[in-house]
Amino acid sequence: MSPDADSRSLAVEQPFYTGRERVRKAQAQAQGGTLKKLGEALLSEAFVGNLLRYGVFASVAVCAIGAIMFFVDYGLGGNVQSIIQYSANPAFPQSIAALEHGVAVLDPLALSAAGLLLLVALRVMQVLLSAVTFGVRGNYKFVGISLFVFAVLVSSLFLGKAGG
């Protein structure tokens, strides 16, 4: 074990070496702050893990419902190329606003597309949530880092069209 690792294991006793995050955690434990504990639990790794897991299931379920509806509505016949053409047509919802309409009229493929977009949105939410997590823990450097990543992700949703 390196000397550095040794000093790290004494983290709580040596606030000089440790950052705000661990100090606050230790303080919260010492004071038994219920609200803080609740916050920690809500924003813990387990919660983020669950959000990812169930959120992904939900969005893929929306995708699957759209696919099933498609086969129910249009039968098993038809031509693969023309189906692909249909959703590649500029008239098919390719913006968030147009997608809302497609989902409202229950266009099966628009519903699938919404499920796919939900999958993307989930990862954006995950990053925003981590900003909150770090904020609760008093780690403002990582609040900044998380918000930077969040801003990049959000801007990609608006920049998209220019690449076409």
């Binding site: 893990g49 992904v56 098993l76 959703s87 493929l109 999958l119 992700l153």
Partner: protein, 282 residues
């Protein structure tokens, strides 16, 4: 091929890709794009768009497990995501401009590199004597995880934070350009440059892959290149496969599968290169 047969074929192949991806720590994109573009004969931009979705689904499935087991280092992941997301958007834009043939050739080259990287024996022993660099110290990137194979907690330090950030921009650009998770580029960067333990590199890479892919997926979506009839079966299949595959991972020696996969990668790489220079077998 009727629409239903098309749907089922894509779905089944995606299940297989999801299982392989989770076992080998890849997003599965390296085999999905060639499958959709070469075997199913789809436009390569649709193949890339569908693959990006699969990458997000795989990464979310795997990340959920890794985040809970605390092997992945969330701070390192978020820090490096600053570079991968910006890189991903650059790559996604580039894919809209450059000719298809060039895309096939770049893909072939990256596949060949991936095969080489997998072929070389990956070192599994833990890094020793690593001292945190200035940035890693300021951001407190050092952490520990419980290694069930060793039966103890492993503490580790992080170094080379800024060079790592630079390499992640390149990995992100490859992801946006080719629709792959580019874990094959991320893991060596964390492993060799930032000196993270192998398991931490793989798990953190899986955590980041989805965030990287989300940045480029938005660009593809707004361009109409994420076609729901192709991407839906891919997403459903890959998620199912990945959830199954992740459970095999922890104490699993994958050398046999790895060798098999290297052979596949070499063959697919050749096919993509030939397609790029205009030779087709069928």
């Amino acid at each position: 091929m009727t629409p239903l047969v098309f749907f089922v074929v894509v779905l089944l192949f995606s299940v297989a890709a999801g299982i392989l991806g989770a076992i080998l720590g890849l997003g599965g994109g390296v085999i999905l794009v060639p499958f959709l573009a070469l075997v199913m004969g789809l436009d390569i931009h649709y193949a890339i768009g569908a693959s990006l979705v699969s990458v997000i689904a795989t990464s979310s499935g795997a990340a959920a497990v890794y985040v809970r087991s605390k092997i992945s280092n969330l701070k390192v992941g978020l820090f490096l995501s600053m570079a991968t997301t910006v890189g991903a958007i650059s790559g996604a834009y580039l894919a809209g401009i450059i000719p298809d043939r060039v895309l096939f050739i770049i893909f072939g080259v990256v596949l060949a590199y991936s095969a080489l990287a997998m072929f070389r024996k990956r070192k599994t022993e833990l890094p020793v004597g690593v001292t945190s660099d200035r940035v890693s110290k300021a951001l407190e990137l050092s952490d520990s995880y419980h290694d069930p194979a060793l039966g103890r907690d492993v503490e580790y330090n992080v170094t080379g934070a800024l060079p790592g950030l630079g390499l992640m921009y390149v990995a992100g650009a490859a992801s946006g350009l080719l629709g792959i998770g580019s874990g094959i580029l991320k893991v060596p960067a964390m492993d060799l440059v930032m000196r993270l333990p192998m398991k931490v590199s793989s798990a953190t890479s899986n955590f980041m892959i989805g965030i990287t892919a989300a940045a480029s997926a938005a660009v593809y979506f707004l361009r109409g290149d994420i076609n729901p009839f192709i991407a839906a079966p891919v997403a459903i299949g890959v998620l199912g496969g990945a959830m199954a595959g992740t459970h095999f991972l922890h104490n699993f020696t994958s050398s046999g599968i790895r060798t098999f996969f290297v052979v596949i990668l070499v063959l697919v790489s050749l096919q993509m290169l030939l397609k790029g220079v205009g030779v087709a077998f069928y």
